[in-house]
Structures are given as C-alpha cells and as structure tokens.
Amino acid sequence: MNRSFRRRSAVASIVTALAVVAGVAGCGSSGPGSSGGADSATAWILTGPTEATFRASFDAWNKAHPDEQIKVQSFENDAYKQKVRSAVGAGQAPTLIFGWAGGILKSYVDAGAVDDLTGSIGSDTTGHFLPSVTKVGQIGDKLYAVPNNGVKPAVIYYNKELFQRIGAQPPTTWDQLLQLVPRFKAANIAPITVSGQDKWPLLMWEEYLVDRIGGPDVMRRVLANTPDAWSDPAFIKANTMIQQLVDAGGFVNGFSSISTKTGADVALLYTGKAAMNLNLPSAYQTIQTGDPSFLSGGKLGYLPFPAVAGGKGDVKNVVGNPSNYWSVSAKASQQQKKIALDYLRGGLTTDAYTDALLKIGLVPPTTGVQAKLASASDAPYLTTIYDSAQQAPSFQLSWDQALSPAQGDALLTNLQQVFLKQITPTQFSANMNKTLGS
C-alpha cells in the first residue's frame, strides 16, 4: 500500500508540473515584447561598412532627443536574416525592423507584424526619396517601409591595371566577356571573383542574364506564381551560359568557398589576383576600408552588365537592392512606435544623413542629389551609380528578397548547384517549379 501510494503521488506531481507549465504557456502570449527598456525604441542594423553611418545617425538623434532614445544593435547579414524572423515570431522584434522589402515584408504584413505607415508618414518624407525606391516599400497601395540606405544596383567592378596588363578593353557583350577568360588565365589572373559560399552574390549573375535574355517579365511571372514559370527559356539559357562560363574557368578557383564575410572576394580584386567582380556597391566600400590607395590610384573600373546577343532585355536594366528599409513593429509599445515614427520623419531626411552615405561611397536614394554627387570625392563613380539606378527602365529587387523565404532559400541553394555543375539547367527549372506557391 505504501508503495502504491508513493507511485500515485509521484504521478500526481508530474501531472501537476505539466499543468503548471501548460498554465504558464497558456497565458504567456500576450503583451508587447519589451526589448530594451520601458520606453526607448530599439533598432537592429547590419554589420559591415555601412554600420557606422547608421550608428552615427542614431547617435545624433539620441543626442538631440534625450526623451526619445533609440538603442541600436548590429548583426552579421546572414545571422540577421535568420534572427529577425525568430524575434518577430517570438514577439520580441526590434521597434524598427530593418529589411529589403519584397517577399519577407509581405509575410510580415500578412502576419500583422508590421504597422501600416500610410497615415503616419507624409509625402514630405516620402517625397524626399526617388519614387521608384519608395514604391518598393509599398504592399498593395499601402506604405509599410521607408528607405534608409544607399541605392545599390549591381555593376561589374574591375581592376584596370590587370586589363592593361593583357591589353584588353572592358567587355560590353557576353561574347567579349567569354573571350577575355582564356587571356586572363594565360596571364595567371583569375578572370572573375565571386563569393560563392554566401550564395547571394551568385544570384546577381542569374538575375542579369535572365533580364538581358528575356527582360523583366520573366521574373514577374515567377513572382505571380504562374505555373511552370521557372521553365521559361530565359532561365534555361541563362543557366546554360553560367555553366559555360564555369567550364571555361571564368570564376576564380575555389569561388564556392569564398565568403563575403571576410571580404576575400573583393580582396582578390584589389590585390591583383582577379580582374572582375559583379557586385553591389558594398564592394566599393570594402575596397575603401581594405585598400584606399587602390581607389585614389584610379585602379578601379566599373561598367554595366554586358548585353546578350539576341536578348530582349534593355542593357540599361539593373538588378540589386533599390535600398534597405525601416518598418515599424506592430508589437512595440505606443511610446516606442512614437519614437520610431518621429525618427523616420525627422532622422532620415536630414542633410547629415545624405552626406554620411556619400562619405562612405554610397549613393543616397534621394531626389535632387546630383549636385552633391558632383562635388563628392569620387564624383564620376557616384554619378555613374546614381544614373544607372535612376535611368533604369527596370530596377529588379534581388530575387531572394522578392520571393517568399522558402522559395528564396531553395533558389539560392539550387543556383549554387548550377554553378557547381551538380544539376543541369533543366533540373534547376524543375526543382524551382516545385516551390511555386509555397
């Protein structure tokens, strides 16, 4: 009897423990996620060359508004993309959510995780930015995100010295690019550097080739989840061309283990080991920190992505990130939201912010900035970037951001397999068609 009593009471106590947990679990899902003090707002930013500019902006804001403090925290790019999602899901999102707009923003909107800013951010703020850039922050006809970063069209950066060494001109067509490959290799120079480990740099090749071959409509059909949209001939042809370039030895040895995190991809360019790098303007910033003399010595060249013979896409079309964006977390407290909105209205449109972006080699996404560009330290470069973004008939958002998270994840991995020749262009299209609608 003694024993059975003890067994029963032990069982009872386990049941009690479970009930307690279940009880706590039941009542723990409401209330705002308080992160960072009772009434200061929080913002997460990315590490890297632009980090200091964001920090300076918030520091200046905090100094000028002692009763409206914003606490800042920085994350590495890939880590951020995974963490911010968990934070939003746990109701612990920062007040200001940094993002790329596109599919991720849409999923936040669908989950009610970010606020509609249409009523609170007026045209005096949105009018400060280029219309095409502002538009990316809208879902339907409502504004959910405000631009906060430089315009980032992808261009080909190249090492002028190495081109002179082999006596070649920068390529304007795909065929010219292919012809350069053996010549660079003969001179013991890697034709193209790319960080394949991070996957997203590979995507710029795919985006540009598909655009040059079939124009922006090809991707629009994918974004609209049209059945078999990935089987478009433009995808097959682009991936075939990529594999030809890989076969020809166009990409530096070991490109798939080069990481942007260490800046090794761009380092190959300015240390004279590789001739070309298709990249976002962040590459320019990496050179600024890594080897400023490379810039002052006039060794850096840049050119738009070459044309593809017989292609439908305009050679002026660009891909990349129109900007980055701030959204406001729906879970934040009223006071936190007020601080965040005040910052969006007053902190982003200042001259100081524009100048700070210019200083680190970024082109502000603002209207009427040409005069400032012309007087900046590297005027020709900045003007080129600005014009290519502003005059582009189509400025496509990076696909991994435009698509839903599940699709973006599958796209990056499948594309890496194309580059590694683990799958054929046809398999790529088949694999990607399966993700449509997810």
Partner: protein
C-alpha cells in the same frame, strides 16, 4: 582520483612521473611509432600556430605576406579591438550560464542518483529508465518546440532561457555517472548509518556527498564544458548583444570584422584562454572531467 580502495583502478589522470604499475615498456626506441606521433603533432600544432600568429598580424599586410612567417611588427590591436567589442560581457554571460547550469544540474542529479541507488520501488526504476532514454535523444532535434516553449514561457532572449534547457539535457548523463559511482559504494555503509539513527537526508549529506565528491568534480567539468561551448541554444534562444555568450560572439565577430581574419582569430584565441588557464592549473581534473564515466 576516481578510485575507492574497494575496486580496481579506474583512474584516468596522466601522472607526469611514471609509477611503474603498468605494462612493461620496451625501451628500445619505437621508430615508426615516434614518427607517427610527430606527424600527428604537426597536424595538431600547425593550425594552432597559424591561429595564434595571425592574431598578432596587422590587417594591412595580411593578404600579402606568408601566413606562417612570424609577423614582422606584431600588434595587439586585434586584441584591443575584440575586448572593446564587449568581450568581457560575453565572458561574464558564459560564466553565469555555465555556473548556474552546473550547480543546478549537480544538485538535482545527486538527489536523483542517490534515490536510484538507495531507493526501491517501480517509480524509482521507471525514473531511471526515463533518464537512460534521455541519453539517446539527440539534443538538437527538440530545438523547434523548445524555441516555441521558451517564447511562450516568456524566457526568450534571457540567460535563464539558456540555463533551464541546458540543465535538462545534462541531467541524464550526470545521473548515470553518479549512479554508477554510488553503486560501487558498499551498501552496508549506508545501512549501518541508517541503523545508527541518521535520517536519509543526513546519510546523503554526511556520507554520500563526501564519498561522491571526486565524481561530482568530474561531472561538473563535463557538464561545464558542454554549457560553456554550447552553440545551438544561444543561436536560437537569444538575440541581444547583452545576452550573447562566447561561442555565439565568435560567430557574430565574423561580420563585425569584415576583411579582418586577424581580428576574428584574436577573438578565437581570447575565447579559448579561460580553458587554457584551466588546463594549465588543473590538467588532471580537466582530463578526467572530459572522460567522465566513460573509462569504465
């Protein structure tokens, strides 16, 4: 250090001086053995040398020079940069998590282990079987529900949210080792103490605790290492810099030191220093702790 007089030696420490109780050693030099040993030494030491030497290099010439040459003008800048990056806080967080997790694990596991050895009844045996089962559950597999549970308990992004699951996952192996150890204590000792009128609680504190102390030190080190080096829990269950622990901070440094391999490697060296100090001070404890309970 783990042996009682009543059983064969299960000692796992490395006496520096030979004690001459083991197998005859043939003192003619074993050439192939020595060569193999030295090759492995190179495999172990060269990467470590590279890590340490690179951490003293300047960023400027890093991509150009020979990576194994001694730096021409060594610098401590990388270390300064890492320490300015809140490194001390990360160490403190790691210490808090490790200490709290180990203390809680030892306390509850000792109670449970003592009960398993001394207690009777199906309930006790069932509990022990549940813990044995726990040994077989791959820790990482429950991370998604655990993330859900921790967020619902409002423990997301808190050190407590790291400590509690760490304790839970350390309990099975800790209980098992303590049980194995307590089993080798002659039961008559406990029984005679009980017959002298001591309560079960007094028996635990006055008799079992001193006897089991060496095993406690050993499992404390084992559990401590796991908590100290844990990566997955902090990766998923925390987010703020103020809650960051060492292994996660290393991962985060990768981005903060773009183009800065020397800086990242300086962080690697600094994060390993506490373990190196422990190794120098208490090599025997560390070695036996690592191989806790597996040397039987």
């Amino acid at each position: 250090m783990l042996d009682l007089d009543t059983q064969p030696s299960t000692s796992t420490d490395l006496p520096v001086e030979p004690t001459g109780t083991t197998a005859v050693r043939r003192y003619r030099g074993n050439v192939p053995g020595a060569v193999g040993g030295l090759v492995w030494l190179a495999i172990v030491i060269v990467p470590i040398y590279f890590i340490v030497v690179t951490s003293f290099r300047r960023q400027a010439g890093f991509f150009a020079g020979n990576p194994l040459a001694l730096p021409t003008d060594p610098t401590l800048d990388n270390y300064a940069a890492v320490i300015q990056h809140d490194f001390v806080r990360y160490v403190a967080n790691s210490v808090i998590v490790t200490a709290a997790a180990v203390a809680a694990t030892l306390a509850v596991s000792l109670l449970a282990a003592y009960t398993v050895v001394r207690g009777t009844g199906r309930m006790v045996r069932l509990t022990f079987s549940v813990f044995l089962l726990g040994l077989a559950i791959p820790l990482h597999a429950t991370i998604i529900p655990l993330y859900y549970l921790i967020t619902r308990l409002r423990l997301y992004d808190s050190l407590l949210g790291l400590i509690l699951p760490s304790v839970a996952f350390a309990i099975p192996v800790t209980v098992l080792i303590l049980v194995n150890f307590l089993r080798d204590v002659p039961q008559e000792l406990f029984e005679s103490m009980r017959m002298d009128g001591a309560s079960e609680w007094q028996t635990l504190i006055r008799l079992a605790l001193p006897l089991v102390r060496p095993a406690l030190v050993t499992v404390a080190i084992y559990d401590g290492l796991n908590a100290w080096n844990g990566f997955l829990f902090p990766l998923i269950l925390t987010q703020s810099e103020s809650r960051r622990v060492l292994p996660l901070s290393l991962w985060a440094f990768q981005g903060e030191f773009t183009v800065q391999i020397p800086g990242v490697l300086a962080a690697v060296v600094l994060s390993t220093l506490p373990m190196v100090v422990l190794y120098v001070l208490g090599r025997r404890y560390l070695v036996s702790g690592l191989t806790a309970g597996f040397s039987r």
